[in-house]
């Protein structure tokens, strides 16, 4: 009986999740058509291009290709930094909100979400206005006499990090808030009565309880940061490819190599999937401990 009731769910997962991924997987093994499109012939050329280097013009002996691994590494590192910053700022923020009186928590959450009613593109461009050489931030600092010449912020990695942090902060705050809110502070009091130090209370009692919230927040920030291209393009100056812009260029740009774009997407997805599986397994092991 349960099966027909769940049918819409299965159909949803099948049509909107599995089918596109399967299509992408198939495309990554097809032959590229010149200037976009695919020829329906099996080919490993896309994966070959990713992993094998034959020199700038493809006529040298084959070695391991570092170009795309480098692009992946840069994107992954950037996502790790963004996630760390979001966690460092997001955790105290969530803690602060969750420990307010229940009547005022709603107001704080409301304030956190207000900027996110505005489109991501517009928020990113606004950030650029704020930090540019003759923008308000630099004018203010120069007016105070803190600096003599404008801080070069636009078109730097710092600006990209700022953009990612600003874009994804609520994805960190909200799950942690949900976890902390459920925490019963009577546990802390009980532990303190038994002479536990504040550090021990934090490590042994609070952390295990809010950990799922922290991990959910980290995943929610890390995954979109990895594929982000608005912040790198607009704030970082688009001088180097990120995973997101590399894929975009294969489909919409002049490179027009659909199988390669599909292959890069598949490799990215496999990496993320492996990380998530690893996490799920370690959680399961902890659950049985």
């Amino acid at each position: 009986m349960a099966f027909p009731l769940l049918l819409p769910t299965w159909a949803m997962i099948g049509i909107f999740l599995l089918l596109p991924v399967i299509l992408m997987a198939i495309y990554s093994f097809l032959t590229k058509e010149f200037r976009g499109g695919v020829v329906w012939e099996f080919s490993l050329a896309a994966y070959d291009q990713f992993f094998v280097n034959r020199g700038l013009f493809g006529d040298e002996p084959a070695t391991l290709e570092w170009t795309y691994i480098g692009i992946f590494w840069r994107s992954i590192w950037q996502a790790i930094v963004a996630t760390t910053i979001c966690l460092l700022i997001g955790f105290p923020t969530a803690w602060f909100i969750a420990t307010r009186a229940p009547t005022t928590r709603g107001v704080w959450l409301f304030l956190i979400t207000i900027p996110y009613w505005v489109n991501l593109l517009i928020r990113t461009v606004s950030l650029k206005f704020l930090i540019r050489d003759n923008g308000p931030l630099n004018e203010f600092l120069m007016g105070l006499g803190v600096i003599d010449s404008p801080l070069p912020l636009v078109n730097t990695n710092l600006a990209v990090q700022l953009g990612l942090f600003y874009s994804y902060l609520p994805f960190m705050v909200l799950p942690i808030y949900a976890a902390v809110e459920r925490y019963d502070f009577a546990y802390s009091e009980a532990a303190a009565d038994l002479y536990a130090s504040r550090w021990v209370i934090m490590r042994e009692i609070i952390m295990p309880i809010v950990k799922p919230g922290i991990i959910a927040g980290c995943i929610l920030v890390f995954v979109p940061s990895l594929g982000a291209f608005l912040a790198p393009d607009l704030l970082g100056g688009a001088k180097t490819f990120m995973i997101g812009s590399l894929i975009e260029e294969q489909f919409r740009g002049s490179l027009g190599n659909w199988p390669f774009g599909a292959a890069v997407s598949m490799i990215l997805m496999s990496l993320v999937l492996m990380a998530l599986l690893f996490y799920a397994r370690s959680m399961a092991r902890e659950g049985t401990r």
Binding site: G36, L56, T67, R132, L234, S254
Partner: protein, 339 residues
């Protein structure tokens, strides 16, 4: 029930009895008043979908949108690519009563000899502009963007477009386009990698804004876009460099399997009327390919330095369409430049 029947009737009846026209066009490139004028004259209802790059348009047409649009507005090299891919329908010059209005120099164009599938829309050039408050020296050389003076180093925006950057780079080094000489291409690649150390950013849509805001003191840009930067208060001068510059032309093409072929031809004919062509130019600030538009042009556009190259300027070059093996080499240079 009655209401439902009424709604069905509304949906079933076209809003205009005289048919419709589906245009696939660049974003913000045709004034709405001109579209309204076409509808008023012909009774044809017009629907416009937009795109933001030639490549994006080609990708979406190839991904299954052929047969949904009557006309599109590709750039020169893209007309040739679409023709090679069999995406274009053709017409006879006699199908358009205003065909004779096309400036003769734009009839036998390399990307569509004799204009069998396309008519000129607007044309212009791509070079670069310099903020004259920052740099006051000579700017008639591509060295300004590829080997810049100290004042401009680190303050240059490059177009985020492979075709234009590599074509301008080739001109700077005096190489032909679609070159397959590996040694020369290696030199081109090295020159660009070195030039990139002087660049602040890559951006095409943002090319005007970075000049107006002062984020960049110089930048590769299209001539009409630079005119708009100047109109918005930036003290920028557009250069016609001595080594050469890119000329481009956007064209209205008749798409294969156009659902409303006759209406598409009416629209193309309409755009060849000087007054209508001038309306587009007044909006976009480029140059029309139709003769007799001058009386209808705004003075600011007719006399703008961006649209009137100095006598000493060399002839511009269209971006060439390379064959697949050659294009692969240029793709490699571009990917390497941005890795």
């Amino acid at each position: 029930m009655k209401r439902l029947a009424f709604a069905t009737a509304l949906l079933a009846t076209p809003a205009f009895a005289d048919g419709e026209l589906k245009i696939y066009h660049w974003f913000d490139y045709i004034p709405q008043e001109l579209v309204d004028k076409f509808t008023a004259e012909t009774g044809i209802a017009v629907t416009i979908d937009t795109y933001d790059s030639n490549e994006a348009m080609l990708a979406s047409l190839k991904a299954g949108k052929m047969g949904q649009y009557d006309v599109a507005v590709p750039g020169d090299y893209m007309v040739q690519i679409m023709g090679n891919e069999g995406l274009l329908d053709s017409f006879a010059p006699t199908d358009l009563s205003n065909f004779g209005n096309i400036d003769p120099k734009w009839v036998d164009v390399p990307f569509d000899p004799g204009r069998k599938s396309s008519i000129p829309y607007q044309w212009g050039s791509t070079a670069f502009s310099v903020n004259r408050d920052v740099y006051k020296g000579d700017i008639d050389t591509l060295a300004i963007v590829f080997d810049p003076p100290a004042e401009l180093s680190g303050k240059i925006n490059a177009l985020d477009s492979q075709g234009e950057v590599l074509a301008l780079g080739s001109m700077y080094l005096g190489m032909p386009q679609c070159n397959s000489d590996r040694t020369q291409l290696k030199a081109l690649s090295d020159m660009l990698l070195n030039a990139k150390t002087h660049w602040a950013s890559f951006g095409s849509d943002t090319a005007k804004d970075v000049l107006v805001s002062g984020d960049a003191a110089a930048g590769m840009i299209y001539n009409g876009f630079s005119a708009r930067a100047r109109a918005e208060g930036a003290n920028v001068e557009y250069a016609y460099p001595k080594e050469g510059f890119v000329v481009w032309m956007d064209n209205v093409v008749l798409l294969k399997d156009a659902p409303n072929r006759d209406n598409a031809l009416k629209f193309m004919n309409f755009l060849l009327v000087p007054e209508n062509a001038a309306a587009v130019t007044n909006h976009a600030a480029y140059t029309s390919g139709v003769m007799g538009v001058e009386p209808f042009l705004d003075d600011a556009i007719k006399n703008s330095p961006e649209n009137n190259p100095p006598a000493s300027a060399p002839a511009g070059e269209f971006i060439a369409v390379c064959d697949e093996p050659t294009q692969k080499l240029y793709d490699a240079i571009w990917t390497n430049l941005k890795k």
